[in-house]
Amino acid sequence: MQSTRREPTATRPAPRPAPDRRAIGLRVLAVLGVAAALLGLRLVADPAWTSWLPAAGRDFVTLSVSVFVESLPFVFLGIAISILVQVWVPDRIWQRYLPRNPFLRRMVLSVLGILFPVCECGNVPLARGLMMRGLGVGDALTFLLAAPILNPVTIITTYQAFGWEDGILVARIAGAFVIANLLGWLFSRHPDPESLLTASFEARCHATPPAAQGRGVRSARLFAEETATMLPALVAGSVIAGAIQVGVPRALLVELGSNPVVSVLVLMALAFVVSVCSNVDAFFIMSFSATFAPGAIVAFLVFGAMIDIKMLALLRTTFTTRALALIATLVALCTLVLGLGMNLVV
């Protein structure tokens, strides 16, 4: 946090007087009215309106909705923790408990996921919150890459799926730790780390909330801002993930899997495409474990938890396209080395 402590460069307009009770009551009625209208639409929507959709189109909608419904609660959870970190946890806690030595600090950050066992989609708002609190880009990246794997839920499900078999569990945990710290270190060496961030996020980091506002209002504001940023990204990620599922024959990918070198690449591609959440991806890939070498399985488990289509859409809210391309390439190369190395050894 110490490395890139940001100074406020812009101020918000002066705080407005607190709204009176009547205005609050009206707003509550308004939002409930909107919710009722949405529910009404759902209840009157006639299946006949969309019965012209072909089966593939229907499946595309089902798949996209599935990704969205699965991720939505995690995104809300991530936003809630992010608000907690930004508004309710005093700054000095971070100052006190995060080591000053950058290597040690990143090591601590990479196991922070143990405290916040949200899967990767929830980590994005949380990492944004940490960066707005002044965490450096490299440090935040370490957290983003490590937390989906180094958290209790993922470790338990991976253990349930594979046990100690072939060292898959150990390789996943150790691989994630090393890759996350390596990338965090690399990006902390970046001469201008703020150029990696999107303009709007950078502006948000520099804006200071009006001090006169209470914590409740600040939390509400953050909730509105983060949903405005994350939800369009989640919709885009869900739609793209759904479309690719319908468009790419999975059988084709699996048939390529017998070669020890190609299989690593194939499972990385599969992980990128399916965008399964890191908490359960072990169960998913277990069904392929007869066909693929352990190195390929580990590559799937490490790469997919860090980078996939849905995740890139969410990360794009915060990082520039160039930065994301660089991150994805580096993670892919590291995973490739890990997977091929394992196939040589095991």
Partner: protein
């Protein structure tokens, strides 16, 4: 949007969230969450969206209505304005997609179109052998699919009775007299759904039963020759068209 004074701007994020929340609550209340996610997430998802609904109402009540859009307001360069307009268009598109996908199109299960992308029975439990000796009455469609596909276990179940439900899909080898009764196995959400199926002997089935229609079949597994080897198929005694069950996937 940008021409209006900032105070009047609607909190777009809260509205988007509300669409998702209302749709998810409706799915949960009508018992249809199982169409999209694994039952282990039902409680978490329901609690999370109800809390999110409370948070949305509170945030909406507390905010003067200018939040929700991104705060590069202090950036009034034309470039910034274009970007903001783009983002506004993206938000509107996302809202439309959510309304159409969640509130207009009826919830549905995956169909044969996806099954064909994913290779029927390509990812069966490889441990079908561990099922041997268990009471077949408790077998799900996925268990039967594994047993039938595995040559070392299949013939041991010839003569066994079973009642299974699933949707109709053509036999992978194109045999017109065998349909596959299929289901998807879901580990997290339908994105990871893997199709499994059991062959059912119904000569000329395509004339009577539509692909993707749901059937409940009661019958007996019998050994038969598929030309090169002996396999077992389910020979139905009753075949009944059914509504899509509330739990259409195997978990």
């Amino acid at each position: 949007m940008s021409s209006e004074p900032p105070r009047r701007r609607p909190p777009a994020g809260l509205l988007l969230g509300l669409i998702g929340i209302v749709a998810t609550c409706w799915l949960a209340a009508t018992g249809q969450l199982g169409l999209y996610i694994h039952p282990r997430y039902f409680v978490f998802t329901t609690v999370a969206v109800v809390l999110a609904l409370v948070a949305t109402v509170v945030a909406f009540a507390l905010l003067p209505g200018d939040a929700g859009d991104d705060h590069d307001d202090h950036d009034h360069a034309p470039q910034g304005r274009t970007r903001r307009r783009l983002r506004g268009a993206g938000t509107v598109l996302a809202g439309l997609a959510l309304v159409v996908g969640l509130l207009v199109i009826p919830p549905a299960t995956l169909s044969t179109a996806t099954l064909e992308q994913r290779d029927l029975n390509s990812s069966l439990d490889t441990d079908a052998v561990t099922l041997v000796g268990a009471d077949p009455a408790g077998f799900a469609l996925r268990d039967w699919a594994a047993l039938v596909a595995n040559p070392s276990t299949a013939l041991g179940y010839a003569g066994q009775q079973a009642t299974l439900s699933g949707f109709v899909t053509p036999s992978p080898d194109g045999n017109p007299d065998v349909l596959y009764l299929a289901r998807f196995v879901v580990t997290c959400c339908t994105v990871d759904a893997q199709p499994v199926g059991v062959p059912v002997a119904v000569p000329g089935w395509a004339d009577t039963y539509p692909v993707d229609g749901w059937l409940e079949v009661t019958g007996t597994f019998v050994a038969t020759s598929d030309g090169s080897s002996t396999v077992i198929v389910l020979k139905p005694s009753t075949l009944e068209s059914i509504e899509i069950p509330a739990q259409p996937y195997d978990f």
